[in-house]
Amino acid sequence: MSLNHDIEFTLNGVTRRATVRVNMSALDMLREVIGLTGTKYGCGEGECGACTILVDGLSLNSCLMFAVDCHGRDVVTIEGLAADARADALRAAFVEHGAVQCGYCTPGMVMQASHLIATHPDADAEAIKRGIEGNLCRCTGYKKIVDAIASVNSAVKQGATP
C-alpha cells in the first residue's frame, strides 16, 4: 500500500477535496479519483499534450504533475472551459475549420490554444505553431488546427469575441 494524502484545491471554479496516492499523477487523479475523463492519457511522459490542463493560469502536462502538488492551486480542465465564452469561440472554430478528426488530441489542443490566446493575443500562424509544439495530432496535419486558433485570435482582436 502506498501512502495517501488529502488535498484541497479549486477545480473548474469549485473547491474540491480528494484523497490521492502521493506518487499519483494529476492526470490519474482527474480521471480515476475525481471521474473527469475529458483530459486524455496519450503517452504519460510529457510528449503528446493530450493531458494538458491549466494550473494557476499556466498550461501543464497533467501526466507529469504530482496530484499532491494540486493542493491549494487553481486547476482548470477541458470540462471547466465549457463555461468560458472565449473557449466557446474556440470550440466553434475547431468545428468550422475541420480541426477535429478522431478527437483524441482535441481536449489538450483546446486547453493549450486557450492558454496561448490568453498569453499571446498577437500570435501569428508561426507563433501558434510554436505554441502547440507540445501537442501531437495524428490525424489533421495541424494546418486546420492552426487556422482554427488563428481565426479566434483575430476575432478576439476585432472584438468579435470576448
Binding site: N23, G46, L60, M65, V68, D69, H115, R130, G134
Partner: protein, 288 residues
C-alpha cells in the same frame, strides 16, 4: 522495498533543511523528470517526498550584490520572460527557446534541470560558460547554513552531483557580465521541439578586436557530464579569429569530446557536429 512514508510541503527553507537532516528525502520541484523517472522505475522515491513549491527563498530572479541570483524554483518560462535575464544573460534565452514545449517550460525549474544532472540538460552548458555557482543550503548542526560551489565542479556523472543527501539547491549565482562580454549557445537536435540535444555548445568570453579572452567553452551530450573544454578554451584564448585559427580550434574541440553512440546519434556524428558547429559559431564571433 521501502515505501514512501511521508509527504511534506514545507513553507520555509529552514523547515525544508530540517526535513533533509534524515538524508532520506526525495525533492519534488516541477516533477517533469521525477514523475517519468519514478513511474518508469528508473528512480525510487525515498522515505520522504518533499514538495519545495511553497518555499519563498527558492523563488524569483534578482540582482544581489553584483550577481544575478536565479532561485532554484524559477521555471524555464519565468527565465524566458525575465527582463533581467534579457538584459544581462541573453544566452540563457537561447537555451530556453528550444527547451521541450510550452507545457514543460511552464513546469520545469532551473533547480530541477541542474540537480537532474543530465549530460544533455539544456540550461547547464550556458550556465557553465557563465561561471555560475550553485548555492546549497543545509542544517548541519541545528542552524541553516549555505555553501557555494562552481557549477563546473558540481557534476560527477549522469544524474550524479556533489549535492549531499542533506542539502538542497537554493539557487544559482552568476556575476553580472561586463559590457563587452560575449556569450552564445547552440543546441542541435533532429527536430525543433521536444528533442533532447544531440549536442550543444556554449562559447563565452570578453570580445575585443576579433579575439576572445577569458574564454569559456562548454559542451553538452558528448561526455558523462556537461563539460567545460579547457583545451578548446586554451586554443582560443586571445587569438584573432581568422580562418586558420577557427579551423585549428574546431579540430581541438572535436578531439576533446568523448561522446557515445546512442539512439539519437553515433559518437562519430557527434564529434563531426562539435567540429562543424564550433566552426560556425566562431565564424559568427569573428563577424561580431
Amino acid at each position: 522495498m521501502t515505501e514512501i512514508e511521508q509527504y511534506v510541503a514545507p513553507s520555509s527553507l529552514e523547515q525544508a533543511a530540517e526535513y533533509l537532516r534524515s538524508g532520506e528525502v526525495t525533492i519534488l520541484a516541477g516533477g517533469t523528470d521525477l514523475m517519468p523517472q519514478s513511474q518508469g522505475g528508473r528512480l525510487k522515491i525515498k522515505r520522504t517526498l518533499m514538495n519545495i513549491h511553497h518555499i519563498p527563498e527558492l523563488k524569483g530572479i534578482a540582482i544581489d550584490g553584483g550577481e544575478i541570483r536565479i532561485g532554484a524554483l524559477a521555471t524555464i518560462t519565468e527565465i524566458m520572460e525575465s527582463d533581467l535575464i534579457k538584459k544581462h544573460l541573453p544566452i540563457l534565452l537561447e537555451a530556453c527557446d528550444h527547451f521541450a514545449s510550452d507545457q514543460i517550460r511552464n513546469a520545469a525549474t532551473l533547480g530541477g534541470n541542474v540537480c537532474n544532472a543530465s549530460p544533455a540538460g539544456d540550461m547547464l552548458v550556458p550556465l557553465l560558460v557563465l561561471d555560475a555557482e550553485v548555492e546549497l543550503a543545509s542544517k548541519p548542526n541545528g542552524s541553516l547554513s549555505r555553501r557555494r560551489m562552481p557549477l563546473a565542479e558540481f557534476f560527477v556523472g549522469p544524474g550524479k552531483t556533489r549535492r549531499g543527501p542533506t542539502e538542497l539547491l537554493a539557487g544559482l549565482r552568476i556575476a553580472l557580465p561586463p559590457a563587452n562580454h560575449y556569450a552564445r549557445f547552440f543546441k542541435f537536435g533532429t527536430r525543433p521541439a521536444l528533442d533532447i540535444s544531440t549536442i550543444s555548445i556554449g562559447i563565452a568570453g570578453m570580445l575585443k578586436n576579433g579575439a576572445l579572452s577569458q574564454v569559456r567553452v562548454a559542451f553538452g551530450a558528448v561526455a558523462p557530464v556537461p563539460m567545460r573544454a579547457p583545451r578548446t578554451e586554451q586554443a582560443l584564448e586571445g587569438k584573432r579569429l581568422d580562418a586558420a585559427v577557427i579551423d585549428a580550434v574546431a579540430d581541438v574541440a572535436r578531439n576533446e569530446v568523448t561522446p557515445i553512440d546512442d539512439i539519437r546519434a553515433t559518437a562519430w556524428y557527434r564529434k563531426e557536429l562539435i567540429h562543424n558547429i564550433t566552426k560556425r559559431m566562431l565564424a559568427h564571433v569573428a563577424q561580431s
